[in-house]
Assembly symmetry: C2
Homo-oligomer: 455 residues x 2
């Protein structure tokens, strides 16, 4: 029986397993859900055990655990290290979900739930591929190691420490990461760069306590207003970030890439507008949308809070206001100096008389991958066979910090082969995963695992 037929035959069983996993609300950002995060890790380890991995365990760390599995019976053959994560984003705002975030429901061929794509659905691609190979051959054709984490959504560093400390045990010929999207279901692509990330929390303070706007309005410091002024100064309507060091660090690109952007086979700008439901692109005019999303830095406010936000009216001038602000970094720009640049810019732009604290909540390094690495060529072939056309190289705007750790410590190509679609609404209400893409993903990864035996 060929691999695709087995994938077809067992597909409903794989979807049922995925739903079981999704029902575990493994929200790493919320401490009260950490028990569920551990359950999610145990579930993944259980899957590896069920497949017959001789080693399959939940590995304790100082924070949330890792999952590690090994199927390495062939001393001479190539080894693939597969990465995934067991945690998910918080589901809020809950009111905007059509169906509850942790009760997966399929509608029109798409599975809706928190984690349906990121990263449980995407992980099921390689789990399903391995299960199909095992069902057909009773064994995998190469050595496979699996390393999963539970802190991807909170910038946790347990896996980074683990990779640095266990580079020898994790030795491999390539790393596979199924955590990226393609531009469309008929537009195969493989990711060639990731942006880095510095995630901060800014607290602006004014008077000693909350004040009545009648009694003090006109002479009082308003930290919300100061925060608004600060944010407006850090990035104006022109989208240019007022951190000169960061803007100067944007790398040059090849003439080939510039030409590809100009050719714009993906109609990328139009596609982004459609996905966002907006009549225009925002940000820095005159810069290609490929560059705005994949190459340029960003400064985004993810959340803001201050004063009275309940129903009705309260005439308070609050004593403080808080914003969560992240910077995405051009691939190749290290996160290390950026937090310092940012804090200096905040202090420079803050209106006079206010206090400010900048906390760095997490950082992650970006990465570049060589399009011509031998393992990458096999991934390109596997994808071309399944989709009937060669994949495009794509710069991804997101950050998967561990990829940089893999590249640095294991010194092998990191294959970012993912099957998400642009409208999957990761990190948003009604996150979904296209079940046809799940099946294609199993097919591609199955072929890739077979091909890697040729390395």
């Amino acid at each position: 029986m060929d691999l695709d037929a087995i994938i077809d035959r067992d597909f409903e069983a794989r979807v049922a397993e995925l739903k079981e996993w999704i029902r575990i609300p493994s929200v790493s950002a919320l401490p009260e859900f950490h028990g569920e995060v551990v359950r999610s890790a145990a579930w993944a380890a259980g899957q590896l055990k069920g497949m017959g991995f001789p080693k399959a365990e939940v590995v304790k760390t100082e924070t949330l655990p890792l999952v590690y599995g090994e199927w390495c019976p062939y001393p001479g053959k190539p080894t693939l290290l597969i990465y995934g994560h067991c945690d998910v984003q918080p589901p809020d705002p809950l009111a905007q979900w059509v169906s509850p975030p942790f009760e997966p429901v399929a509608r029109e061929g798409k599975l809706y739930a928190r984690g349906a794509n990121d990263n449980k659905g995407q992980s099921m691609c390689w789990m399903g591929a391995c299960k199909a190979l095992l069902a057909r051959d009773g064994k995998l054709p190469i050595n496979v190691k699996v390393l999963m984490e539970c802190e991807e959504e909170v910038g946790g560093t347990a896996i980074a420490r683990h990779v640095a400390a266990h580079a020898e045990a994790l030795a491999c010929d390539a790393v596979l990461v199924v955590d990226t999207p393609m531009p469309g279901a008929d537009k195969p692509a493989i990711c060639v760069s990731l942006r880095g990330l510095v995630y901060t929390e800014i607290t602006v303070t004014g008077a000693r306590t909350d004040m009545h706007s009648g009694q003090y309005g006109g002479v009082a410091p308003n930290p919300i207003q100061a925060l608004a002024l600060l944010l407006a100064r850090l990035k104006g309507e022109d989208g240019i970030i007022q951190i000169p060091e960061l803007m100067a660090a944007i790398p040059d690109v090849t003439a080939e890439e510039t030409a590809a952007w100009a050719a714009d086979v993906l109609h990328y700008g139009d596609s982004l507008k459609e996905q966002m439901g907006t009549g225009q692109l925002f940000g820095q005019n005159g810069v290609s949308p490929y560059a705005r999303v994949g190459l340029y830095p960003t400064l985004e406010v993810h959340g803001i809070r201050g004063g009275f936000v309940g129903e009705g009216a309260k005439t308070v001038i609050p004593a403080s206001a808080v914003a969560k602000v992240s910077l995405r970094l051009p691939p190749g720009v290290s996160a290390k100096p950026v937090a310092g640049w940012f804090e200096a810019a905040v202090r420079k732009q803050l209106p006079k008389g206010f206090g400010v604290e900048v906390k760095v909540l997490s950082t992650g390094e970006g990465m570049n991958v060589a399009w011509d690495a031998p393992a990458m060529k096999l991934a390109r072939d596997a994808m071309a066979e399944v989709y009937g056309k060669p994949p495009l190289p794509m710069r991804m705007g997101g950050s998967i910090p561990v990829c940089a750790d893999f590249a640095r410590h294991l010194k092998v190509p990191v294959l970012l082969v993912g099957f998400g679609l642009p409208d999957d609404d990761l990190h948003a209400p009604n996150e979904k995963y296209d079940l046809a893409q799940l099946k294609q993903g199993m097919r591609v990864i199955g072929r890739l695992v077979v091909k890697l035996s040729l390395l």
Copy 2:
């Protein structure tokens, strides 16, 4: 026995009553507390009944009730209408209270609780004065009407409709409002103007849903950023509000008032800085702090909310963001056109490509009171007798919208004689009322009620 001796003798009983009232958490801004608001009204009506008011009732309205009482046995004599309110501000942020907001506790001569000043403590001044007069004489020396509301903190309009509809029944020779502060315990003052208020909620919208900042950061509309830009454009660090019609409406003041501001017997700017715990005054440089607080308009953000504000990091670009913004209006400037000016300014200053909705949550008119009105002169005398020096005329920056209704429909002077202190932290955590001021207030109001029989 003289009035002050009776006030002294019964003071603890009055404080006990005040504590009983405060324990009713009558938060009008929060619908789930509306039952408590009604209890608070019933408590006040019960006090009037207990004093022997022949009429003392809770009056239903379309929204929250009023309290009305009448002691009018003397057809020929002057009538005083006393106003107060039974509702309080929300207590949040709860974590900043030293003692729970609805469990009144006296520390160092000050009573700490939500409503300790605003307006339950201040109302106890006139309740205590009337009780002392009744204890001494078995009757009041003039006709007294009492009208209280339960929506002062939410800009409710029930009382405005009531005053407009029942001007004849409310006919009187003066209105007494005990809801304002004095500049210090040794600095008696009577309020001669109030600012108006327009309270709004601004919602800025961007994309169709929340988005992942990795996937869309660089081209996505960020409504928090747009809101920050908008707020920064509506009022810069120079404190000048970018609503030309409003700035043009600031009235001229007399040379006498300008001179009084320059003389600055209250050391007002220094006093405000000390109260706020700041090293500087904010707002419009070059404008007297008396004018900034009492005469000039304000634009203040009272609350802001958008995106992810929980613990930790979430890389979302939200679909919308909300701010509560109020304008205080120069006395004499009607609130009616201002909401329109504001909405036009918002639409003009909003960054391109975003949606916006401006909801007016409430409005209130400001007011001027004549310093030389006969009833005002009696109030000035009463205050001078108790404090040993004549009161200063003060412009107050707050808004008590019903005062404008009283002035308009009843056509009598509104006496804003209050005993709060600048550091009472109204609308903030650890609101308090100085118990010595409570007693002084009873003495002043007792004398005023006696003097009004001379009108």
